[in-house]
Symmetry: C2
Subunit: 724 residues, 2 copies
Amino acid sequence: MHLSRDTPQVNGSTDYGKNVVEGLQKEEKLEQASVQKLSEEQDHVLKTFRLLIADLCQQFNGGHPGGAIGMAAIGVALWKYVMRYAPHTPTYFNRDRFVLSNGHTCLFQYTFLHLTGYKAMTLDQLKSYHSDRVDALCPGHPEIEHEGIEVTTGPLGQGIANAVGLAMASKNLQATYNKPDLDVISNHTWCMIGDACLQEGVGLEAISFAGHLKLNNLTVIYDNNQVTCDGSVDLTNTEDVNTKMAACGWDVIDIEDGCFDIEGLVEALNKARASTEKPTFINVHTVIGLGSAVAGDAVAHGAAFGTSDVANMKKAYGFNSEEHFVISEKVREFFGDIPARGQELVQAWEKKVQEYETKYPEEGAELRQRIEGRLPENWKELIPTSFPDAPTATRKSSGLVFNPIAEKIKNFMVGTADLSPSVNMIWKGKVDFQNPGLKTTCGITGNYSGRYIHYGVREHAMCAVSNGLAAFAPNTFIPVTSSFFMFYLYAAPAVRMGALQHLQVIHAATHDSIGMGEDGPTHQPIELANLYRAMPNLLYIRPADSEETAGAWITAIDAKNTPTIISTSRHTLPQLKQTRRDLVAKGAYVVEEVEDADVTLIGVGAELSHALEAAQELKAKKIKARVVSFPCQRLFEAQSTEYKRDTLRRHRGIPAVVIEPYAPNGWERYADAAACIKRFGHSLPGKAAYKYFGFDVPALTAKVESYLQQLRDDPLLKGEFVDL
Amino acid sequence: MHLSRDTPQVNGSTDYGKNVVEGLQKEEKLEQASVQKLSEEQDHVLKTFRLLIADLCQQFNGGHPGGAIGMAAIGVALWKYVMRYAPHTPTYFNRDRFVLSNGHTCLFQYTFLHLTGYKAMTLDQLKSYHSDRVDALCPGHPEIEHEGIEVTTGPLGQGIANAVGLAMASKNLQATYNKPDLDVISNHTWCMIGDACLQEGVGLEAISFAGHLKLNNLTVIYDNNQVTCDGSVDLTNTEDVNTKMAACGWDVIDIEDGCFDIEGLVEALNKARASTEKPTFINVHTVIGLGSAVAGDAVAHGAAFGTSDVANMKKAYGFNSEEHFVISEKVREFFGDIPARGQELVQAWEKKVQEYETKYPEEGAELRQRIEGRLPENWKELIPTSFPDAPTATRKSSGLVFNPIAEKIKNFMVGTADLSPSVNMIWKGKVDFQNPGLKTTCGITGNYSGRYIHYGVREHAMCAVSNGLAAFAPNTFIPVTSSFFMFYLYAAPAVRMGALQHLQVIHAATHDSIGMGEDGPTHQPIELANLYRAMPNLLYIRPADSEETAGAWITAIDAKNTPTIISTSRHTLPQLKQTRRDLVAKGAYVVEEVEDADVTLIGVGAELSHALEAAQELKAKKIKARVVSFPCQRLFEAQSTEYKRDTLRRHRGIPAVVIEPYAPNGWERYADAAACIKRFGHSLPGKAAYKYFGFDVPALTAKVESYLQQLRDDPLLKGEFVDL
């Protein structure tokens, strides 16, 4: 182990990478030099592990063997000697969290789950990797649904940001609940990464942010094998990674002989856990596919080695080349003490919590509630029952509705991607989540019990970190993010991962629709809602006024397994008499009914008032228009056929026209024609933008009139969708 | 000017930021100390500029004054003393490129465009900022459509990646065409950034990549005012940025007194242009909103100062507080020589090109063709006229179609986000675009005339850099990117910017549909096509076999002002007899016609063969199914009503069922029912995944049968969309 706290000279930066790789090429020499450090037992465990990985990929001739094999010693150091966890109580609250950010090496984690005694991960299940078993616990990337997996990973860079969130969650709980005599929360977060997580933007954002926060309870372990799909990493990355990490505020430790130096790894990992100041980056130099014929080569990454190579590996390791999936009694013994050790941890912790509850009954009750993922029962009462009549931007309504909840209920961690003045998420007396040693130039301080997070202009990391906060334990935290809606395109891969993992994260997205104005087409979301309306397990809600904004927040907070985007306006909107918070949960509802209607106008979010005004105008022209408010497609889809038909009345032959300055794609399910937009926006003040695109009331009225005339003129149009 | 090529000690990293900001707070002292360096004329120009910005924001009481004001001296250094450009020939091919990555400070650029004599940017136009003029040249962020603007910016971090692309374009042209005696291409790329571009992931990816490539013709100028919307930057970022940049392979220069030190700035900028080894990062310490009452404060960022503050600024500067938009004759004179200077550059260059054409006729002709953005006329002949009968993955078809084109035609720069072995974009004898000094561990070398780009696992930067390549000059380059389709979600903000800017970029996206298999739900795109089908000015094409893949590439290469995603399969697909490359451009076409059909099956991309097989199966059950291939919705939308009706025949009462394992949203326009997916995918081998989700032929046949029965049973279903 070599502690490189001193930064290497920058002039030497490219040589640095070169040296690493040249070192790796001396693999055989390394192997001879290193094995002596290992006990015979450890050596046997490493060999067994590597052969298991080779066999698991060989059985269906696919998968990612190389990384997992190269990381074997890291895994032994972690699971045998360092991590605090309990295989027989996988959800033990104070467990260390482990994130495999290089998720394609999932066999690494699956195999250690098996060896350390996780009950679900039987040998039979372990062998399900790449099989056609529908109930397999070994999908191609780790999935949160399965025992022992903290977060779903795969898209690179996400895991490291999740790990930052997991570490922030611990920090916040520690600062909120721990007492000098009782540290009920004390876990550490470990994150394994590969070369790619240091290239992906979301990873780089998270690294910079974690360094700023001085998350000393976070350790990133870099499987530095200098190999990616295209070849050696220096094809595309020759930066001096240690210096870069140090510049970002991380302690840096090098492990030169990462394939064998279990002792050095354990020492480094323990040092990282003991860090009092900074997160730790352990740069572990490994060899991809060690021991195989393709060791150190890119082809070791994503393909099985072939039967003869696997057989040769076995022979070289002194194993029987005819036997597969061999786990000797010695290996079983090596890991045998872990379940019991884990149960001891669990029992000691439970005792500690009980003591805490006795000594600190009020905080104890709250902590218990948090552990169980419950909110105070009366949370809905914190929401105003009515709102002032004055026209209000729904981004302000969001604040009116949610700030009192955020103030009182500690489950909520609320962050913004540098848009505090715009998104209205600051509550009275908010405290920032910050390293308590920080004193900013602008005079703001904070501490780790703070719950307002300045993520910086890092939308992607904000949402990925929030997934980590949410994944700490079900609903112990309900993270809230905020930015302009358009910039949730930057964050989309993380929003998706939240939906896929059934994590309750609430995204307060403001400045939706062209009504946001002058910032122009780069900031005007035309097609983004189409993504989020199609994304499984995500609620995209556009409330029309304060009342519907209340409904949107209630729906979002009630959605325990689903993330929500609450999409609000920059500009003021009238408070409508007809809106109902309780009906937002239905997705759509009638706000103006007319018998023998000629047309239904569907108004959405900021443009519902346009629909209501257009209906009034149409009345003067003897056209009877009913109006439906339609804040959320997915919620509406979940309603009964009867409710849906009653709401839209298309089955009675009444054509429906949707009014929304977004791309129409998908509205065809609910409407017959669209006053929508099929091009990018335009930089104009909000009202002028509405007029420019034909969303002012005279233009809308004319469009509807003309459409009804067209329908009379061309019978074929009935049954076809018309863009107005 | 202080050259800090030596890295500061890492231990001092947080102090570094602190010192900067403390320095900024000493603004007044700085002002006194600095003004002496300025000539009286320069001082007057800076004051005029700052007051112009204040007035321009004040007139409509909005906009972003602070940054532009802080950057005044940088602008004078660039436009007056350093940049090579021609206001009266704005598209002069060898001009320096300037990118305003902090696009919200657009007034900075607009005002210099006006002052330096760009004809379109009249004073009247300059005053259109934040007005409701529909034909304004001063939108809220710079837009490529307008004279003197190289790229549209606004979403932070994009511009710096675009600048990397612009610099790569120059490098490639230089290496391809320059001769020892004739350097026809010699321009430099200048990129202005703010704090945010150093926080956004895409910026960090681009920085790391540019350092690797040693783009010495690129200079990034950091407007280091340490202020963002939420307050001081140290609220969220306390990293040592200079050390980080140096670790990424950049030369670093500090300018301590960036508000006034024009001389130091010019020296630094010239030094940057002269760099022979690395890109240069100039860290310019400035004061946001200098001279206003809110100087150095976050509120200076995004709001007008108020009339009295603006009046006070004028008084303090010795200007008449009653006069607005004052540009004295002295200021006009200061910038007066620039248009003529520019025309001299243009003439000298044109002469040089003529000389080149005479001396090197073959290369000269090619260069001329490139300058004019033309392809060799016979490019289509490079595509195979037919393909082998063997089932072929369309990702392989992509290679068969496009590799010969990429090999022969130098307009194409082809990159991959570390998926060379998967995306089939490598042509025979390809040379990598690399710094010629690089020799990678895996033995690959390259040079700047190379046209294959290893972007690393940086999907977002890949697409943003490609926008820069495309923006160099219309169609001089046609960049091609490649990755798994799912990871175009990471790149989506850049893909969007390409569509918005009408840049021809071709994205070769592989592994579409659940057929990609074991990698599981994190890699299976369910809802991503919904985004791209809704995105204006983007073609999302899913070809069904090699023949349609040929059609997709032809369409993409023909689309001079539109980016295209060609979305292909990982798994092998049968070569269908009925497909036609020439009809892909229609978006959809009939592949199997039946008279008196009972149903139309719409097959899309990888699943067209499922539709054809299901139609066969249905025939056995006496159900007559016609089949439509539907590779691209946007192309189909552009067809005549008659063509659309003839293709779908819904107007004849034939229900249409779409078959595609994506979210159905949007198909409602063309179909009556969907065999689609409304949940996330599942990790299973491709065939098993198809079966699991009901896309095998027996399941599809049963769905269609059952739907036709439902239609008979419930007449209301006609006119409603049904998920099968």
